[in-house]
Assembly symmetry: C2
């Protein structure tokens, strides 16, 4: 932006000694609130996949937003870089410390109170260190529902969900985390607290500041509290597996399903035949659920909180799908056990994929209507580059979100495999760009996807993003190097 | 923010003459694209209520985003303040020019192409000057639905809907405009175009820049295009009028309705008895819809795009409501005509209110669970301050959005009335603050609500908002003085 003064960012000096930081933290938090023994760091440097990243200077474990604010103010004064940490289920290296800059890890694991549940307002106010499952359970006890649903929900934390704008299984019906946040409390990089904990469903008073921090991956402030929107708890649900002749039919079936199921659809997942076979490979007691094999399947679910005949809705969808020639076979689960068995396919296919060893995982999104053409072109070109690669492309159709994954040919050396997967990823992301898609539908950028991300940015986008970072965190102390590169390296 | 350099904003000099601006604009837009005759200004200075505000320097009527960009770049170079204008249905004076600073009005009325409708992706891409009703009609032709619904939908424009984060009737089910925007195209204050016209339902690649411009009331850039999210078109709807003993019962009935109606609820409006009486006063053929009068009523609607028995749902709600003692009577419309008659109450009550002459209109929001206590305290204190005032408080219960309006006693002089209404508004806003509510649920801040708004801001909020303005528009040329005050006056 022409109007922003380019500030000279002061070099990250370390004007305090380890002993000083240790003393400050233990005075503030007590001994249990500080971890400075590298032998105990593993828990704070390991991501979900079990990989270790970086080395913290120290780990602080505050219990209150005010303690977070004091720590941040101290770090701001003394130019100590910080990284806030939730439940370690990120996939892009955003929350683990780096190796070179001696970052202070601020773990929010002890900031975990449910502050207030308001069933009449359909809202719940929580500390950011609350585990997602805990929030879901609290909602359920009040006959409400917090819809965010992720594989990691037993360990991931609300602050991480906010900071990564988490997606997951129910986005189609309930939106991503951004749609579920009514209010936020954030410790700003200078240590002041932004208190936006309003439990309002509507508020147009000035710029909506909470939007800045949702999905910012901790680079603009540390989320310490959130007011979340609840829904009525579903009382009934129905699942079905549908067989389609090709991906294009799946898309047309989706358009019918949205209508037949009256927006009560909670999941609509594409499962290609290869994935079903991987699932059967991983789970030998799993039988082919339909008589004849089909090129692609859809796993779907609809749910409702009141008196609705979901069977009639899904049967209506079957009729319309057969009539339109986009559906060749299908099974509607007639019991909870049958439904669980259908959804077991999705878990087993992930296991089958893992069993095949290291592979390229992506998380791209496209306009739903481009999925057929994208899938065709990406498959053709990836197979041309590497005929022995195996493509596994499944995903959330209603979100246009495809996990286009690639298993490399067996027998490659680690280095050779890494180079190949990197080349294939670059090529795939180029195709994503050609279709006006996103290289990160839900996982974010963090550190691992930064290079690819920066290539997608226009000059105005880069300027505004850099300006936002400089506006909120002029000393570049908060999760530095995530999303955007450091201004000086 | 401690890290932002406080720039000295150069004084708004006018280094070009009227003739130069006129020549530049007519070269770019042709003669029909420039209006410089004050006799033709009325259309651009008059708001929805018919009040005239300010005098433009000139009016530019571009046809393309590129023309908007050229105009803005020219204004940026020559320090000409600008105000973008949509359909003139704002209520806070944001889009009309001011009287002193010779602003260039940039009317988007000719930037009105529907660019692309994608029924498989459930999205539509439009110019920002498209009229809301035109977009709704286009969606309907493709068997889709664009849910934003406002009284002004026949004249308001998409750009204004985005810039004010418009609410309206369907927020309960579909969210506000923010939830309906997938992508944006914005001309930045320096004349560059931010192209974020991605038709993606999920995208976590970096900071979500479009959020900055939604609800910014044109102060950070001019929206020239938007990709909007569509839904399936509802096929059936059912309306009902329900009688409740008090507001608290209405809130409890709402919690039941969310469940019984499975999130298919599209409206849940509080109508106090006073409003029904105003409606009957304005529309003498309107009869009392229920046998006995009731202190409060609810007008509700549910709608669905597929095979659902809405009658059964609403009957289920009646049963649960009677059982819980929160419902005393009710009528379910058995035909479209009956439904229209029920909704006629809402229109007629607004007419009845208008017929009573000038009054205080507010647009506040509160946690739904605070509505009873807020209503009680606000009524008591307003009546204590002015025993002859008549309170008319209706609104969208599911959004916690109350139009708490006050009719002054008859017979006051204009000046006396204005002073009284101002005093009552100030007092009401204090109570809103005590309940952690918002003084503007959907209308925005613009110029008229700025004083009250600034009083609600904390120091960090003010600093970040001011920083955002300075980051995007360092010369303060874009809708200056709206939301935030000018840095120098």
């Amino acid at each position: 932006m022409s109007g922003i003064n380019d500030m000279t960012v002061e070099e990250l000096t370390m004007p305090i000694a380890t002993a000083e930081l240790q003393r400050f933290l233990s005075d503030l938090l007590g001994n249990s609130g500080v971890i400075d023994d590298p032998a105990e760091f593993a828990r704070y440097t390991t991501d979900w996949a079990g990989h270790k990243h970086g080395d913290p200077w120290m780990v602080a474990r505050p219990r209150t937003p005010e303690q977070v604010a004091e720590i941040v103010a101290f770090c701001h004064r003394h130019q100590v870089p910080m990284v806030a940490q939730g439940g370690h289920s990120g996939l892009v290296g955003g929350a683990q410390p780096d190796s070179e800059h001696r970052e202070l890890v601020i773990s929010l694991e002890r900031l975990n109170r449910i502050r207030h549940l308001d069933p009449i307002n359909f809202s719940i106010s929580v500390d950011s260190g609350c585990i997602l499952q805990t929030v879901k359970d609290a909602a359920e006890e009040a006959d409400c529902y917090f819809p965010l649903a992720l594989g990691a929900q037993g360990s991931c934390q609300i602050g991480g969900n906010v900071s990564t704008n988490a997606g997951g299984l129910n986005v189609l019906r309930y939106g991503m985390m951004r749609q579920l946040v009514l209010g936020l409390e954030v410790v700003l990089p200078d240590g002041r607290i932004y208190n936006g904990m309003k439990a309002l469903h509507k508020n147009n008073a000035g710029y909506d500041l909470k939007q800045l921090f949702i999905g910012a991956e901790g680079t603009l402030g540390i989320v310490t509290g959130a007011v979340l929107k609840l829904s009525p708890r579903p009382q009934v649900s129905r699942s079905a597996l549908l067989a389609c002749p090709d991906i294009d039919s799946v898309l047309r079936l989706y358009a019918l399903a949205r209508r037949s199921c009256c927006d009560l659809l909670t999941a609509f997942e594409l499962v290609p035949r290869t994935c079903l076979e991987l699932a059967m490979e991983a789970s030998p007691d799993l039988r082919d659920p339909l008589e004849a094999p089909s090129p692609v399947y859809v796993l779907m679910e609809a749910a409702a909180s009141g008196p609705v005949d979901l069977d009639a809705m899904i049967e209506n969808l079957f009729e319309r799908g057969f009539e339109a020639g986009v559906l060749t076979d299908g099974v509607l689960a007639s019991s909870d056990t049958q439904a669980r068995n259908l959804w077991h396919i999705r878990e087993a296919m992930l296991e089958g994929q893992r069993n095949r060893g290291e592979h390229l995982r992506t998380d791209v999104s496209l306009p739903i209507s481009s999925l057929t053409a994208f899938h065709q072109r990406a498959s053709d070109e990836i197979q041309a580059l590497c005929p022995q690669a195996m493509i596994i492309a499944y995903g959330h159709i209603g979100d246009g979100n495809l996990h286009f994954n690639i298993l490399p040919p067996p027998g490659l050396e680690a280095e050779e495999r890494a180079a190949l997967l990197h080349e294939l990823e670059e090529h795939l992301f180029e195709i994503v760009g050609d279709f006006d898609g996103s290289i990160s539908a839900e996982h974010g950028i963090g550190r691992f996807k930064q290079t690819a991300f920066l290539e997608t940015l226009s000059e105005p986008e880069y300027d505004i993003m850099r300006g936002l970072k400089r506006l909120l965190d002029p000393r570049y102390l908060m999760s530095p190097g995530r999303i955007l590169p450091r201004p000086i390296e």
